[in-house]
Structure formats: C-alpha cells, structure tokens
C-alpha cells in the first residue's frame, strides 16, 4: 500500500481545539502541505493572530510568533525586514484582519511586503462568541446584530480582496473557499502560488479563504458549508484578483 494522503509534517501531532467541523483545521492543513511540498518548514516563521486560530502556534510545526490583535502584518513586516531570508506568513481571521487590522494589512500590501497572508473569513468573531465582523452578511444575526446586520446603519460587508486589488503595488490576491473538496483543492493551489511568489521574492501574496463557523452560525458543520456556498460565495466571488505579472503590465499601461 502506498499512502496517498497523510498528515503533513508541517503540522504537529497536537489535536486541534477547533469546534467540530470548523474549517480552520482544513486551512491549517493546506498551509502545512504547501510548506512540506515547497520544503520551507525549516526556514519559515508563521504568525498566529488573535482569534480562534490564536493557538495555531501549537499546530504549525515551524517557528511561530503570536501577534497582538490585528497587527500580524506589522509583526510579519518586522520579521521580514529583519531577516529577508526567512519565509513568513500570517494566519488571520476576519475580525483580526478586516476590522482592527485594516491599516496594517492595507499598508503591508501597499508596501509590497514579501510575505504571505492566509486570511480566514468566517463572517463572525468566532473566539469571542460570535459578534458581528466587518464581513458579516447583510441581515445576518450575530450576538451584536440581534436583528441582523442592517446595511443602512453599518454598511455592507467588507471585501478585502477587492480593496487590496485596488492598490497599485503588484501583488498576488485570490479568494478561495474551504467548504467543499473541489473548493479546497483550488484553495491549496492558491496558497501554494502565494508561497511561491514569496520564495521568489516577487511580491506580497494574499489568499482569502471563506470558512465556516458552525458554532456561532448555529448550524451543523455540513449545513454551514452549504450556507457558505449559498450566502457567502455570491457576495465574495471566488477568483484571482491580481497577479504580479498583470499588475506589472497594467502598471505600464495605466500610469
């Protein structure tokens, strides 16, 4: 027998604390597989951010730093500027990256910092108990939008790929999802590309991964994957928004 699917070396053996069916675990595995396949584990520093994935420093089998809430891109910038030879990635939730961390992610992307961001969008603040996130869907009930998100009062969900793609600085920006095997396979491809761009020293790379939070959505894990498909995907289109190749060309023509 030949093992065709097994636990990647870049994941530790520690069981993950995520709720049953939470797709954080899938995204962890994808990142770990990519580190294995590109043989980066021993020169990588990952940044765990504040959110359910804060304990990811226990799961990624490489050097890790835990960042303060929202500031993982600044921490990553610090590491990469200090040691450009290291491979650096951040793993951030949507509360972390799109709310409190907006300035840090926009500026890291705009400076073209040569690290990789794995952005997990599950439309809520998971760890603190399901409060509204900037990414919460219109009408979605959360613990701080008990009547559903009212877009007239607090606006529409923030789409990070769209924002970052609007910057002139070259980068790799793609949105994927972790809710079905097909989407997951594509997600891995995007994450791999993102790291490759970093290895080549090409550009900032950013993969937004739509993810579930069965616990705070109040849905079974499977129902949650369906909810994601039906509600999130139409608003958060899955596609590549930018590659450095395009940006360079585009740049030549546009400006």
């Amino acid at each position: 027998m030949k093992t065709i699917f097994k636990r990647p070396e870049s994941l530790t053996l520690t069981p993950m604390h995520y709720c049953p069916g939470c797709t954080h675990g899938i995204i962890h595995r994808l990142v770990a597989e990519v580190l294995d396949e590109l043989d980066l584990r021993e020169r990588t520093v990952g940044i765990a951010s504040v959110g359910c994935s804060v304990l990811s420093y226990n799961y990624f089998n490489c050097d890790m730093q835990e960042a303060s809430h929202g500031r993982a891109p600044a921490v990553a910038t610090g590491i990469k500027r200090a040691r450009p030879d290291l491979i650096v990635f951040t793993y951030q939730g949507d509360g972390d990256l799109a709310s409190i961390g907006m300035a840090e992610i926009v500026h890291a992307a705009n400076r073209g910092e040569k690290f990789t961001v794995v952005f997990v969008n599950n439309t809520v603040y998971g760890m603190t108990g399901g409060q509204m996130a900037p990414t919460t869907m219109p009408g979605q009930v959360t613990t701080t939008t008990p009547r559903g998100r009212d877009v007239d009062d607090i606006g529409y969900p923030v789409r990070m790929c769209e924002i970052l793609a609007s910057l002139r600085t070259p980068g790799f920006i793609e949105r994927v999802a972790a809710n079905t095997p097909q989407h997951i396979i594509r997600a891995k491809r995007a994450i791999k590309k993102a790291f490759q761009y970093q290895v080549e020293g090409r550009c900032f790379s950013f993969v937004e991964c739509l993810s579930t939070c069965p616990t705070n959505w109040g849905l079974s894990p499977y129902k949650a994957t369906q909810w994601l498909e039906e509600n999130m995907v139409p608003y958060y289109p899955l596609k590549n928004f930018k590659t450095p190749e395009e940006s360079e060309e585009g740049g030549k023509n546009a400006d």
Binding site: M1, C22, P221
Partner: protein, 78 residues
C-alpha cells in the same frame, strides 16, 4: 474499484462533524453509534469496497484524522 484503497480514520481525533460522510461520493463512511474518548460519535468506514480513493473525505476532514492509502500492485499497471 479498479484499485484497492484503504481509508484509515484516527477515531480519537475525530470530532464527529460528518463532513467526510457528506464529502464521500460513494457513501463509504458513516457515523458510529459509539462515542470515542472525547465523547464524539466518530466516523467509520462502512463500505470499504466502494472506495475509489478520491481522498475527498481526507480533504474535508478539519482534524486531519483520515489517511488514505492505495494498493501498490494494482497501481503499477496504470
């Protein structure tokens, strides 16, 4: 069916989310009636012969509890 495959589920890593059961196109998996050490009803291989080795179960398992192997001999010919 052409090749021999083996899906191994680490019962005590399983949190009973059932994503693998839904992911499997061949209904190879089902949830047990027993609970594991953590108190979850875990996923089991119930129709091993139907497995086509697509790895969809493993791909969807958030707890990386599933390993998949394929028979070497049958493989070789392909």
């Amino acid at each position: 069916m052409a090749r021999q495959t083996q899906v191994t589920i680490d019962k005590n890593r399983c949190k009973g989310c059932e994503l693998c059961v839904h992911a499997c196109p061949k209904h190879v998996l089902a949830m047990s009636k027993e609970i594991n050490d953590k108190g979850y009803f875990y996923s089991e291989v119930v129709n091993p012969d139907d497995c086509i080795g697509c790895c969809f179960c493993a791909i969807t398992c958030p707890d990386v509890a599933i390993e998949v192997a394929v028979g070497d001999n049958k493989d070789r010919g392909e």
